[in-house]
């Protein structure tokens, strides 16, 4: 029996809109959930997904992907990769799984909203597959770290992180709640699939896979690059929606959503992916710097495609390009300094050889962050450990929920961007964070940052012990230096040599 080619029947099979008789269109597609942007139903019916997939093809391809990922895991399970890995690399895995695994399940529900409430039949089809993709990602990224829990208590945060008020998790939830849990179907397609997945997931799932392959962790490299093959398909859900909005005079609204999502993603990646790539990954295994990966994936690939679809570069383009060389260095120093409050052990990453690499990749590093690290290094060498820990909380931004920081030392540009709204004073880490808030103040105004909660007396007792209890960080889970300060030996030796000389 002859089988029709896919494209002979695809358009007919997925044209599933009808005229409702028993309910109104607004009851079938509540505007708050559907997000029709004032366009008639037939405008959404022109939606044409560029990356097409049918259910039988999906099952076949996904089966093949799973067989590959699970068989690599099984083959390498006895190779003791985890036991023999550099402690910095273990921290990469812990940070990744905790920040991401459960977020994948949340993404499944965002995909489900598009699947049910989008007025575009093609979008509903692609998000049905996208929803199953995200369930797969959640399951795999809980299953793969599970074998390590008995070896290392911090690995439990792969599952636990999202249920806590740990500060980085508050930041991650604030961002994902904003772009995918509290938006209509069309906005989700623009903010989650187009802005976040076409762009930033490549950094974490392919850029990091390149580092993982160099580090010999082929199970992890294979897993995350396999996940990204799903992303590259369902990330295309947003593109046709953008085109419909632009064609119907709604470019400004589309652009604003992209600009908000891209900035939030950038801030989150500056604390998660930046330190991982430029400080935790052992020097000899670094494929490229974080900035080079950002230039490759976000500047050259994502932003170039974005303007090809008819959008503009974000208004904050110059600020963004400038921050590519800066923000994550501050995020790294901050998370290292406040290390008892994170669920992985940060690697300092500041031996003389590593500093040479940083200076080469980020000219001026030694005159800025290097000056602060000199102080931390002296304290470690002198045994003044108390001074390598904080006594206060960092001030955090009321938008991205991450520390307000700038460049220290000779490049000093630390600045607060305040805003008074309805009698409350808000603080932001950048002009862009403040701009995001101003686009829809009521959306964000009621949220309390970790510092707001502390000042409101919600964290008791008001010290580190109380903060750790509030963040649900149990004994044995507190972060500390990944290498137990062994890296400081070289500085101790340098000092001895200097005295002798």
């Amino acid at each position: 029996m002859a089988v029709l080619n896919r494209m002979d029947w695809y358009n007919l099979a997925r044209s599933t809109n009808w005229t409702p008789k028993y309910v109104t269109e607004d009851e079938l597609f509540p505007p708050q959930l559907s997000g029709d942007f004032g366009l008639p139903l037939n405008a959404w019916e022109t939606y044409d997904e560029p990356y097409k997939q049918t259910y039988p093809e999906y099952v076949k391809v996904q089966r093949e992907k799973d067989a590959g990922a699970y068989s690599v895991k099984a083959a390498l399970e006895r190779s003791r990769i985890f036991e023999n890995a550099d402690p910095g690399w273990k921290s990469v895995m812990k940070a990744h799984y905790g920040a991401i695994a459960r977020g994948e399940y949340a993404a499944a529900s965002a995909e489900a909203r598009m699947m049910r409430f989008s007025k575009a039949p093609g979008m509903r089809n692609m998000s049905t597959l996208g929803c199953m993709d995200e369930i797969r990602h959640g399951q795999m990224q809980l299953y793969f770290p599970h074998e390590h829990i008995t070896k290392d208590r911090q690995m439990d945060w792969a599952f636990k992180a999202y249920d806590t008020n740990e500060w980085a998790m508050i930041a991650a939830r604030h961002f994902f709640d904003d772009i995918m849990m509290t938006r209509d179907a069309i906005s989700v397609s623009i903010m989650l699939t187009f802005s976040f997945e076409t762009g930033f997931t490549n950094m974490q799932f392919l850029g990091l896979a390149a580092d993982a392959a160099e580090a010999g962790d082929h199970t992890f490299a294979n897993l995350i690059s396999s996940i990204q093959t799903d992303e590259s398909r369902h990330a295309q859900i947003g593109g046709p929606a953008l085109k419909i909005l632009i064609e119907n005079g709604k470019k400004e609204e589309a652009q604003k959503r992209v600009d908000i999502a891209v900035w939030g993603a950038w801030k989150l990646f500056s604390v998660l992916t930046g330190p991982i790539m430029d400080y935790y990954t052992p020097l000899e295994h670094r494929k490229q710097s974080f900035k080079e990966f950002m230039e490759e994936w976000i500047v050259a690939q994502f932003e170039r495609s974005l303007t090809d679809m008819g959008l503009e570069l974000p208004w904050y383009w110059d600020i963004f390009l400038n921050d590519l060389s800066q923000t994550h260095h501050g995020m790294h120093m901050g998370s290292y300094f406040w290390r008892p409050t994170i669920w992985w052990n940060p690697a300092a990453g500041v031996t003389p050889a590593e500093r040479d690499w940083l200076e080469e990749k980020y000219p001026g590093w030694n005159d800025t962050w290097g000056e602060c690290w000199d102080v931390i290094i002296d304290n470690v060498v002198d045994g003044n450990m108390a001074q390598t820990y904080p006594e206060t909380l960092p001030y955090v931004c009321n938008m991205c929920q991450l520390p307000i920081l700038g460049t220290p030392g000779k490049g000093w540009n630390v600045k607060d961007y305040p805003l008074e709204y309805n009698g409350r004073l808000y603080h932001f880490g950048s002009e862009v964070d403040r701009w995001v808030f101003q686009q829809e103040p009521e959306r964000y105004a009621g949220h309390l940052s970790i510092v707001d909660r502390f000042l409101a007396g919600m964290i008791q007792p008001m010290n580190l012990e109380g903060a750790l209890a509030y963040m649900n960080i149990a004994p044995g889970e507190c972060g500390d230096d990944a290498h137990n300060y062994a890296w400081a030996e070289v500085y101790r030796a340098l000092r001895t040599a200097k005295k002798a000389g």
Binding site: K52, L206, A209, A210, S225, R233, K287, D318
Partner: protein, 104 residues
Amino acid sequence: MSTVDSGKAYHNNRVGPVMRAGDLALAVIEAAKLDNPGKDIFVDDKRAYIRIHAEQEMILRQSTIEEELGRPFRMNDLEVDLSSFAGQIESRDDSVRFYFTKKL
């Protein structure tokens, strides 16, 4: 701290797949050369993934990849190792096309 000119990376017209390393990626590299005559094919091997790009437009045909692989291959099987791609995509039964509408 000096600001390095990161913005330069934006000015490019390269499109094409980013494949997970493996035999399919190698077949795609060969197919890219055969299916896009007269075009330079840029290959950037990052070990975990391989960028396979051309200027402005790249076409990959099912029959060419099948021949290079030496086993049955359906266009849709490309997804097994297609981790990402530069440019816009158009999927057809027997080929896939990556392209930019504008030239910088």
